[in-house]
Symmetry: C2
Subunit: 370 residues, 2 copies
């Protein structure tokens, strides 16, 4: 495992070569585990609190390694260089990061910036020939998502979206049970998703950066959860917005939205997305033969869950560690996750978000074609 | 306590005399407890399964006593006479029950018949000068409810509706906590109400008798619960119906309805009413400072509940025993329940049901004026 050629020969049967970026390399000098396979070398773009969480979690990864940063704040870059042992040659700012194209030591960029910046940044990364991992929401509307998917396809790089729950063990156990028919025909899903948002000056409450309010940030868990829990694509949506604080939640920033989804098999989903209350975070899946509940369902953990058969006992994992480990497998080995995390998957959520905003604007039920 | 006069003299300061029916008597020969106060002597109209449940539960009542029956089935009357020691003179059928007017040994009639029959039966009972206790829904629409209220007012009899949860200890503890401000400003309520209905030939699935589907039967718990948990009257409603089984749930019989209520203080309620799934029956009240959950919330018990302060430990009571005991207090002593159970209270639920059906028919949000 000492050369690109050796590596590619060994892995060739397992992967789809056209999707590998030109700069992909097998090994990473920083990786100290016993693992001697390929390592995905990742740069993080956006060094905020969630970026820090991902970086810390990646310390426990075997297949993924933080090797670079992209930030507009030189002092943050310096701090991260020290904390994560990042060489100067792997540090970029928002003006010069297109030159990452010429850096053979970075395979992928994880974009963890405000939502409204994702599209442009992702396209630039794709054009630089690097795999794109983008935090959710992938973009602020479906049109942007389509453009991102096209750019990544054109550059033959992968586009993955940070759906960390897709790798969470209790979530996956429920999916396994559903596939095994243990809940019978699925009839209902519910997600209560939200929290009381703090600092009123944060970018999440600035439409120019966030593209929307709670729906973009936390409501998307309800949309996405409805889809992977029921395992169908919704065919209609209705939605109702309420706002109690017009100062904090300005025009275009939704505070609370209830929405309902209808599925082809007759199941319905009832969802709440909010920035104005805590004590939520519950998934509930109901079928003819049984049910599953996750509460908390999507927090950083530990997730708690039960079904009609009893408590779920799968161990807690750090979601971001698991996500990055699995995404490395997807990119390097063409591994197929149980629940997709690619651009097509994320685009469906954006289409539902678009439809929810339209349903609120018009007051009408909106048909969906995902 | 041997004469009507002695009794009235003793109780006069406690009660509103104009509301007492002429036939009210203080004691009941069948009452064997140490209680020596007044007893409400009740006839049950409709000897089905729920009527039987109420009758059995009334055995444990001190202030209320089953003394009569009204039924269209002579064999049922005979069975009940034996089981509950009911004299022949207190037995009626649906043709002759207006003559209950001349029976001084019956104070009130509890109507436990199919929904669509309530209005006519309640008015006849009111015209006979007897107090009316009516199972929920009080009627199948608000217009009928208005007529029932008017008839009872005209005859100066009370009209109470079988909202048994209004007397349930864990429910009342949550109400107490809310009034004490322990949840802070109320932001959200949710009710998941429903069950998979059995026998397709039952009256509940016959529009002529039921007046509607799951909404009439179980969705009303969600409406009513929203109102007493939030302690405001909703100002708008939106609703979405879905149907998967057109054979079982014929025209006018709703299978599943999701509905949302908006309240003046900004709180919202998210509710589900269904006849097509089990594993539901959850109330969730969320405020700025804490939350309460009941699950099961409205079944016959035991109810289970918790709040942000921990599990609720109030003892289980047989709901129907408690209800009848408290209703005797309301009728005999003009006792004021924590949550009203009168016709005005029930009318508000009927107005919401009317609005939900209108919202489904039109696809529009419907304003409410309760």
């Amino acid at each position: 495992m000492n050369s690109r050629r050796d590596f590619l020969q060994k892995l060739a049967p397992l992967m789809a070569l056209p999707l590998l970026p030109k700069t992909l390399e097998a090994c990473n000098a920083f990786n100290t585990s016993n693992y001697d396979g390929r390592v995905l070398r990742v740069a993080i773009m956006g060094l905020g609190s969630y970026g820090t969480r991902v970086a810390d979690a990646m310390r426990a990864c075997t297949k993924a390694k933080l090797v670079g940063v992209i930030s507009g704040t030189p002092s943050k870059i310096k701090d991260w260089q020290v904390k994560f042992n990042i060489p100067q040659k792997n540090c970029y700012n928002y003006e010069n990061f297109d030159s990452i194209k010429n850096n053979p030591d970075i395979d992928a960029v994880y974009i963890i910036t405000p939502n409204a910046l994702h599209q442009n940044q992702a396209i630039r990364i794709a054009n630089a020939g690097k795999h794109v991992i983008c935090e959710k929401p992938m973009a602020i509307n479906a049109n942007e998502g389509v453009e991102m998917i096209a750019a990544c396809a054109k550059s033959k790089v992968k586009l993955l979206v940070g759906y960390r729950m897709h790798f969470e063990p209790k979530t996956l156990e429920i999916i396994r049970m559903r596939k095994a028919g243990e809940f019978g025909k699925i009839l209902f899903f519910q997600s209560l998703s939200g929290f009381k948002i703090g600092d009123p000056t944060q970018w999440r409450l600035n439409k120019q950066l966030s593209g929307g309010g709670s729906m973009m940030d936390i409501g998307i868990y309800a949309i996405n959860g409805s889809r992977y829990m029921i395992d169908e694509e919704p065919v209609w949506v209705t939605a109702q917005e309420t706002k109690t604080d017009y100062e904090r939640f300005k025009e275009g920033i939704d505070e609370t939205i209830q929405f309902q989804l209808g599925f082809p098999g007759g199941a319905v989903a009832s969802c709440l997305s909010t920035y104005n209350m805590n004590n939520l975070d519950r998934f509930f899946l109901n079928g003819e033969k049984g049910f599953a509940e996750l509460q908390p369902a999507t927090g950083y953990g530990p997730i708690k869950g039960r079904t009609h058969k009893g408590e779920l006992s799968q161990p807690h994992v750090t979601h971001q560690t698991m996500q990055m480990e699995e995404m490395a497998g997807i990119i390097l080995e063409n591994k197929q996750p149980v629940i997709p995390v690619d651009g097509d998957e994320a685009l469906k959520d954006l289409k539902v978000i678009d439809a929810i905003y339209l349903a609120i604007k018009t007051g009408n039920k909106v048909d969906l074609k995902l």
